[in-house]
Symmetry: C2
Subunit: 167 residues, 2 copies
DNA sequence: TCAAACCGCTTGCATTTCGCAACTGGAGAG
DNA sequence: CTCTCCAGTTGCGAAATGCAAGCGGTTTGA
């Protein structure tokens, strides 16, 4: 499975992990949307991923160590997907990518407000967000949110507020 | 050509631009390797891109506004590709991606030393590098390098030094 | 108790993209 | 005049993509 690499360049190796149109969107939905189950990822996808492609990407992301998969103890047929440290560490990459896309591409207001907040928050906000993800996905305890709301809640609230005013 | 977008999310739109295994490598070779011609990109590619794929990607990158193409006045059959402001603005994204890949993937020492310097240099170094790229590709004058060497020269020198010691 | 909805996928199949190798017409150099 | 270089192009088999339908099992709600 660990096939040959085209080169040992960090950018190339990164592209070998998520150099396709879907993998990074799945990670985005898990990171920012808090999705953990197959159906949540399938039905919640803004872009409409097909189930076979989702299944295939989840499998390879698990094989690559970007995700882990375990059965849901409360629901025998559900599987829970969790982020790993490498995928949590993508937060700054997603922030940079979101900032670039927001500046140069025809984004919609409501779907880019999260990117704006993440950009404005800077490395401190990213670190806080990553700590919350570690708690949620890896069980690593963190301090409670400074203002009582998690970073994801704040991003989500901003998204919903923008959506309602632009509707 | 400006077909439909799957969504207005900045991450998704970014992936629609370079969500494949080659486009970002071409931009990387132009940004860090200083390549401007088809043959330079074809023969200099660490990863061995095929000529039809290179031609196809250059065409779509031009159509998307990430590159411009013009004939070489000194050599009638040569074409010169130039970065545009959006592609120059990818420097922070490439820095973040390189830093991530360097930390989590099996990179080689010589091919990741550039990523390390870029990470250590931080936003100031990125801004300096982007100014040099604007001068080189867009004709926007900038101040001479503070220490007499361009950022790309410094990155390249570090790469060559690492390569010779690990050979 | 039993049907309906939901669970994570899998399968079949048509379309698109990828990628190798060979090749093209034209220009530059000696 | 010929050899090399130039930016691609063409043909074609292999692989990936994507749509729609289906699968065996589980949970839910009446």
């Amino acid at each position: 499975m660990a096939g040959e690499h085209r080169s040992g360049c960090p950018i190339n190796l990164s592209l070998e992990v998520f150099g396709d149109k879907w993998s990074l969107l799945i990670l985005r939905d898990m990171i920012f949307g808090g999705r953990r189950h197959f159906r949540e990822l399938l039905n919640g996808s803004q872009e409409g991923i097909a189930s076979n492609i989702l299944a295939n990407r989840l499998k390879t992301l698990v094989e690559l160590g970007m995700l882990t998969r375990r059965p849901d103890p409360a629901h025998k047929q559900k599987a829970i997907y969790s982020l790993t440290e490498p995928s949590i560490a993508l937060v700054p990459v997603l922030a940079a990518l979101g900032a670039w896309g927001r500046r140069w591409l025809p984004v919609t207001e409501e779907l880019s407000v999260r990117a704006r907040l993440l950009e404005e928050g800077g490395p401190d906000l990213w670190a806080r967000f990553m700590a919350e993800l570690r708690e949620e996905h890896l069980g690593v305890p963190t301090t409670p949110p400074p203002d009582g709301r998690t970073v994801r809640d704040r991003l989500q609230a901003a998204y919903l507020a923008t959506k309602s005013t632009s509707a």
